[in-house]
């Protein structure tokens, strides 16, 4: 219920922002039992990079069309 509610609240934002938020939330959920998550910034950076690369690829595909 909350996941759906959260998704609803975030629909006003662009798709890549929604994707990024949901993926980061899933990561934080998995690691909630750690007080300090090891290498947390590197792992968040990986997620951000993947979303950035996907967005770039999608833009490139649009330009080609």
């Amino acid at each position: 219920m909350f996941k759906e509610k959260l998704r609803e609240l975030f629909t006003v934002y662009p798709p890549e922002i929604q994707t990024l938020i949901m993926r980061v939330l899933a990561f934080e959920q998995e690691n909630i039992s750690y007080e300090r998550v090891p290498r947390v910034k590197e792992q968040i950076d990986e997620i951000v990079t993947q979303v950035a690369v996907s967005r770039e690829a999608a833009r490139g595909a649009k330009t080609d069309r």
């Binding site: 219920m1 909350f2 996941k3 509610k5 959260l6 609240l9 975030f10 934002y13 662009p14 890549e16 922002i17 990024l20 938020i21 980061v24 939330l25 899933a26 934080e28 959920q29 998995e30 690691n31 909630i32 039992s33 947390v40 910034k41 968040i44 950076d45 951000v48 990079t49 979303v51 950035a52 967005r55 770039e56």
Partner: protein, 649 residues
């Protein structure tokens, strides 16, 4: 999540392997586990917490069954384990945590037992596959920080109803409603955005543009110099052609023919001599390069003297002598031919001689070094002689070249001073062309130098530009990432308060609904409120806060209402597992609660004493009970057996 089966093995008072299955149908979703005080209800409750989260098992003594330890022999391996089968989102999982230890001679487990934790997913075909990240998977099913609201200790049942419970309520709301997850996500995204910002500032220096401008300038200069070089070379060729024409005309001139032909011969000879001279200079250079032995000559001579002196004094052991002594020892016979035995003074003396001498390879090394040094000496001597010869040859050539050049100058003067104007004019022009060629060659030399420098500069610039291009691409990507991370952090900030407030309102409404259902004085209590500062309050019919006046039972009902409201509203689909929830309730509230509790959870597991569940409260739950167990404690063995209660019993 629904739990299906629990297997305990040698866990606390549960000796051997024992199992129970939980009710999980929609209509029969209640499992009752009852036993007297000390029978092992709490141990099973602990087993669930320990299996899933490795929690709840500290300061409670030995986890491994004492009966199992006492029955084992010293040195024998004993294992305690808890295995839980559960279902979540149509997937079946088996979670297993175990402890292994070896029984020592003192009758106890030696050192610290070895723990292991595994989680398997059971596929549709029945095969099990291991989950690589069991902790993360458990947290995604039922996070450890909210487990106490689902795996519920009944002795703490009225905690939330206490006046000082605001912070505990806030913490519960924060955890169950993912606010902690949102908060962490926001903080971490802000932190990485800040890192991106710092990195971007570092990269944005305009260096690439600067490098490209320098590269363009260097390449333009290179083109210009290349064009100049080509022109100079053309000019040289043109001057040479003109000189050749003049030479031809002079050959055809009767009064100049002899002199010109002589000049031709001298120029051919000069060309050859100059070639020879260049060869000699190259040989001298090579000879000088390998003439280091000449410079090292004094040191080589000194080293040879030292080695010879040491050899003469016998300070360098002879390998022949060592080998000779070893042969004597092997033959057990002295140099005079007399035999000796092992352990005799002669034998001992010979062994000592062998030990005291240095390894035979030392003399070989000394011999090799001496030979190498002597060969250096010889090479040095040869080198000196060769260099001497080359230098003499060069000197001779230089003299010849000088003489030839002097002859050429003389011929030139004679032709220039010729009484015939045409010959004089042609010779003058020829000399002018020769001077031009010299000048062009100097220009060519300096242009070639500049071109080499430009080529090196362009090569360095190309490398720097490639690196700067990489940095620029990184800069663009960083810019994108900063934008994304910051936008995501801002989005979470924007919705956080609205989400938290809306959810608080939902919890308030659900708590009120459940409270009205469970409390027996529902007409007296009008409302339940959860304020924005998380104060849980009950409002009576007079519109007054009634919490200070709540009885112990009513406080417990309020707490239970809050907990079950949270569990219904949260995303966590989990069973409600309660350890002695009714222990402090009188019959009326107990009856009311048991009448409605099964409606508040998809799966309900109750650990109860016989006193807790009887008469009306038992009857209320009866239609929904799908499994029932009795924990039978044996005072002789101090062990508990899980006994299934069937309907006929």
């Amino acid at each position: 999540m629904k739990i299906e089966k629990l297997i305990v093995e040698n866990f606390r008072q549960y000796f051997g392997r024992q199992r129970m299955e939980f009710a999980r149908d929609d209509d029969k979703c209640v499992t009752i586990i009852h036993g007297v005080n000390g029978a092992g209800k709490t141990s099973l409750f602990i087993a669930l917490n320990w299996c899933l989260y490795e929690e709840g098992a500290s300061n409670i003594g030995e986890l491994i069954s004492k009966e199992a330890i006492s029955r084992a022999n010293a040195g024998e391996l004993i294992q305690a384990s808890v295995e839980l089968t559960l279902r979540h989102n149509a997937e079946r999982y088996v979670v297993r945590r175990s402890l292994q230890g070896v029984k020592g001679t003192n009758g106890k487990i030696e050192g610290y037992p070895t723990a292991s934790f595994t989680m398997m997913r059971i596929r549709g075909d029945g095969q099990a596959e291991r989950i690589p990240n069991p902790v993360g998977t458990i947290n995604s099913i039922l996070p450890s920080n909210v487990r106490t609201y689902f795996l519920f200790d009944g002795e703490k049942i009225d905690n939330f109803a206490k006046p000082e419970a605001a912070s505990e309520i806030k913490s519960a709301v924060f955890l169950i409603l993912k606010l902690e997850v949102l908060d962490r996500a926001k903080q971490h995204l802000k932190a990485v955005a800040q890192d991106y910002r710092h990195e971007l500032k570092r990269l944005s220096s305009g260096e690439l543009r600067n490098l490209i401008e320098r590269d363009e300038a260097a390449r333009a200069a290179q083109e210009r110099e290349t064009a100049s070089l080509a022109r100079f070379k053309q000019d040289v060729e043109s001057a040479k052609r003109k000189i050749a024409d003049i030479d031809q005309k002079l050959r055809e001139q009767q009064n100049a023919q002899n002199l010109q032909e002589k000049r031709d011969r001298i120029e051919r000879d000069l060309k050859q001599r100059r070639g020879e001279h260049d060869g000699i200079v190259s040989n001298i250079r090579d000879a000088a390069t390998s003439a280091y032995t000449i410079a090292a000559q004094p040191a080589i001579a000194a080293a040879l003297r030292v080695l010879d002196e040491k050899r003469e004094r016998g300070e360098i052991p002879s390998s022949i002598r060592k080998q000779f002594v070893e042969d004597l020892i092997e033959q057990m016979s002295c140099i005079c031919g007399r035999s000796f035995t092992e352990g005799s003074p002669e034998h001992t003396r010979l062994l000592a001689l062998v030990r005291e001498s240095l390894p035979g390879s030392l003399e070989d090394d000394v011999l090799a070094t001496t030979a190498a040094l002597r060969s250096c000496e010889e090479r040095a001597a040869r080198g000196v002689s060769d260099l001497d010869t080359l230098m003499k040859h060069r000197t001779e050539l230089v003299d010849i070249i000088n003489a030839l050049e002097a002859e050429l100058d003389d011929i030139g003067r004679q032709l220039k001073d010729s009484p015939l104007e045409e010959i004089s004019r042609m010779e003058k022009a020829r000399q002018d062309f020769l001077a031009d060629i010299d000048s062009y060659n100097v220009q060519i030399g300096s242009t070639q130098n500049r071109l080499s420098e430009l080529a090196a500069e362009i090569s360095n610039l190309e490398k720097a530009i490639a690196q700067a291009r990489k940095e620029e691409k990184r800069e663009r990507t960083l810019g994108d990432k900063l934008e994304l991370a910051q936008a995501a952090a801002d989005a979470i900030s924007e919705i956080y308060e609205a989400f938290a407030d809306e959810t608080r309102a939902r919890i308030e409404a659900k708590t009120k609904e459940i409270f009205k259902l469970l409390v027996w004085k529902d007409a007296h209590f009008q409302d339940v409120r959860l304020s924005s500062d998380f104060n849980l309050e009950v409002i009576d019919r007079y519109e007054q806060p009634a919490r200070p006046e709540l009885s112990a039972g009513e406080r417990q009902v309020l707490s239970l209402s809050f907990i079950t409201a949270m569990s219904r509203i949260s995303d966590e689909e989990a069973p409600l597992i309660m350890d002695t929830p009714f222990g402090r309730l009188s019959s009326q509230p107990r009856n009311n609660i048991t009448a409605h509790l099964p409606e508040l959870a998809d799966q309900l597991v109750l650990f109860v004493t016989d006193e807790e569940l009887r008469d009306q409260s038992r009857q209320n739950l009866e239609p929904r009970i799908g499994a029932e167990y009795r924990l039978e404690f044996n005072p002789q063995t101090s062990c508990t057996e899980i006994v299934e209660v069937t309907k006929t019993q």
